[in-house]
Amino acid sequence: MTIDSVRGAPDTTEAAEPELVQLLTPEGERVEHPDYPLDLSAEEVRDLYRDLVIVRRIDLESVALTRQGELGIWASLLGQEAAQIGSGRALTEHDMVFPTYREHGVAWCRNVEPLNLLGLFRGVNHGGWDPAEHGFHLYTIVIGSQTLHATGYAMGVQRDGVLGTPSAGATIAYFGDGATSQGDVNESFVFASVFNAPIVFFCQNNQWAISEPLERQTRIPLYKRAQGFGFPGLRVDGNDVFACLAVTRKALENARTGQGPTLIEAFTYRMGAHTTTDDPTRYRLKAEEEAWKLKDPIERVKSYLVRNDLADSGFFDKVEDEAKQLSRELREACLALPDPDPMTMFDHVYAERHPLMTEEQEQFAAYLASFEEESK
């Protein structure tokens, strides 16, 4: 008898479709949800559309630069724009983001220069932005470890005693479906729950952990995990920028006012490869991609704008031109990125000076100087 026959089929297939918060259908029709009212002006919707188009364009340019040997690797966000822009635009000044290496859209919302992201993947900086200034931590490459950093940070905010005041900031940790199998993520769920930490766990379930499908991560919908840890979880249409905005706003507000953590499972799909170094055609079917193409996060906003006469072709052309121009500038700036001065490697190892490092720094400077002597 196999284990499967003992346990029965996974809950994911047994239950009816789990409830999915959706405010904008793939066809661009606005629908209401009792728990998540959302009132956006025409301009706000147009701004969201612009964000979506621009981050997609930046992402495509970065993939191309990688293919041309200008970046070492790139993790494409293609297909996940709405999850990132929706949640990213829900953030306010005092909030703090702990991203993975794919959160280019959230970085855009936090005013992190895209060029800085490229510098990281070109190997000329380690991120290069000030996390405190942007409320956006450096990219974390290790899977899931940022959820622990985020939980610790959130508990710090809690101890500052600012929750419930206007200067309260929520913490949001981004991770993927694969990361939910990591110990780190589960440990941070425990801490966040028992300390009622002001944190939002934002899981972009893009269905694939590199080549591992979702059914190798879980037997229940991921958002239901939260219940076992003792805090609320919900599933949102991750390709619906309105819904992502609304649910994240509410979860962040709950955190800021001391009501504890929330798990948001943004149900979406990674349209491209995991990174530029793998080939999705080797482990998944084209039909699956085609099905998700119909749920494109940008097309539905465009249909909504057109359907409700909120934008004309002039607007769409303008956004397209702007995105093109931005990506062209980004390309040129990327190619012009200087290689770093080797001495700068010592600059950000510790917050303060350290005697051992001062010694190493001097040794290295002397080593570099020996080249100059020789070449004279």
């Binding site: 040997g69 200008e70 530029t276 080593y367 080249f371």
Partner: protein, 477 residues
């Protein structure tokens, strides 16, 4: 600094997958003369990890493709040149700033140069590790020694990789006597010369490093390149409009094949026998085998079962797997207790017969794998001399050309060769009634010095019986 007129930009094959060293050019999407834009897909390449499309980093007009489809190219080798002046000028400034910016920032610090955009005449540059093309062998810049001889650090430039000259020969395992004397020419030029029937060896190149250019080939074809033919003893037919005859130099595989075939035909007295066989059950077996997990990743073809049947027949009649040897004490027949099974394969370069070594020891999946790998290697031009030598018996699959049979000529040093014709639906008397069955024709040529008609017939009959009823392979092996 004066910008040189119309300096083409070279795109070198990048490492698109963290530490890859080479990739195969699968398909070009552009041709010389095409206008390209930045990020337009220009080529598909296959690496060890994936097939990827490469977007063009420049805009302009394609001047040359520096690698041909099917060629495996090392990372860092130029694959395409684009003339930026031919297109818009937007991208032109892009190529310059990186080096300048790096120079300003780094002053005297050992520098790691920018990858990617070097002009062909640029001095050799070292490549960074994380981005671009990986570290070149021999290009590691060492700290200068404070030694007495005081070799200037510039000397290291000598060991840095030179900008690759013309890409080298096609990847054929063509025996090159002496290893030199292969004229330098880029692949498209070679292709053009081949198409025009011009022998590159007869041309003196006028390009860089004496390489042969398109113009040289055209001039040679028109017969106007006076005094440049280094082999006047090989007169070529001046190409008037529509020559009535074309002379092609016999060399490479064609030459080797010709020598082997005439040698064999005039040394070994050949006898050929034919047998028509109903292979319907073999086809069913092939279909069934394909469904088995053991064969999930190998190609199962009728040829596989023909090979298996021949091996079984050889086991029953070892004398057919033999060679004629003229030893010091007179002629001998050497019967081999091992089978190196030759499979004749048609390739772009001609007929090649790679051998499955020690085939008698292989189980069926192993045999399938060996057949697949070897013929693939031969087609890709990667068969090694070892793969092509020391055969003991051969199968030639003439069926792939859509013919029923032939009278194959023995591979020199072997006593038998089996030809396997096309399989087609034929009216056939099956179990006493006329039926439409899958039928093929087998023919076996053998060296009559070694193999008598009786033995040859038994071998052929055995193979036929096994293909008619594959269960016999079990019974006899």
């Amino acid at each position: 600094m004066v910008t040189p007129v119309s300096q083409p930009k070279i795109f070198k094959l990048p490492d698109v997958g963290e530490g890859l060293t080479e990739a195969e050019i699968v398909k070009w999407h552009v041709q010389p003369g095409d206008t390209v834009e930045i990020n337009q897909t220009i080529v598909e390449i296959e690496t060890a990890k994936a097939i990827v499309e490469l977007p063009c980093p420049f805009e302009g007009v394609v001047t040359e493709l520096l690698a041909t489809e099917g060629e495996t190219v090392d990372v860092g080798k130029p694959i395409i040149s684009v003339d930026a002046d031919g297109g818009g000028s937007v991208a032109t400034p892009v190529s310059e700033p990186p080096a300048q910016a790096a120079a300003i920032k780094q002053d005297a610090v050992p520098r790691v140069e920018e990858p990617g955009m070097v002009s062909p005449e640029a001095p050799p540059k070292r490549q960074p590790v994380l981005v671009g093309y990986g570290v070149k062998e021999g290009a590691t810049k060492r700290r200068p020694r404070k030694s007495a001889n005081g070799a200037p650090p510039h000397a290291q430039q000598a060991q840095a990789p030179a900008p690759a000259p013309a890409p080298v020969a096609p990847p054929a395992p063509r025996p090159q006597p002496g290893g030199t004397g292969l004229p330098l020419a880029k692949p498209p030029v070679r292709k053009m010369a081949k198409d025009l029937g011009v022998d590159l060896a007869t041309i003196t190149g006028t390009g860089p490093q004496g390489s042969i250019t398109r113009e040289d080939v055209l001039a040679a074809q028109a017969g106007t390149q006076a005094g440049t033919q280094v082999e006047p003893q090989a007169p070529r037919v001046p190409a008037q409009a529509g020559p009535r005859e074309e002379r092609r130099p016999v060399k490479g595989v064609r030459k080797a094949t010709a020598a082997a075939m005439s040698g064999s035909a005039f040394t070994a007295p050949h006898v050929t026998e034919f047998l028509q066989v109903d292979v319907t059950r073999t086809m069913e077996t092939v279909k069934r085998l394909r469904e088995l997990p053991e064969f999930a990743d190998v190609k199962v073809s009728p040829l596989l079962l023909v090979a298996r049947a021949l091996l079984t027949a050889v086991a029953r009649h070892p004398e057919v797997n033999a060679t004629w040897a003229d030893g010091p004490s007179g002629a001998e027949i050497v019967v081999k207790r091992y089978v190196n099974l030759g499979i004749a394969a048609a390739t772009d370069r001609g007929l090649i017969v790679p051998k499955v070594k020690e085939a008698q020891d292989l189980d069926l999946p192993g045999l399938a794998r060996a057949l697949g790998e070897l013929t693939e290697k031969a087609r890709a031009g990667k068969a090694t001399p070892a793969d092509l030598s020391d055969g003991t018996i051969t199968i030639t699959n003439v069926g792939v050309f859509g013919v029923d049979t032939g009278t194959p000529i023995l591979t020199p040093g072997e006593a038998a060769i089996l030809a396997f014709g096309q399989i087609r639906d034929m009216p056939w008397v099956h179990e006493g009634e006329l039926a439409i069955r899958k039928v093929t024709t087998l023919s076996l040529s053998f060296d009559h010095r070694i193999v008598d008609g009786e033995l040859g017939s038994r071998v052929l009959r055995d193979v036929g019986d096994m293909l008619e009823d594959p269960i016999r392979m079990l019974a006899w092996s």
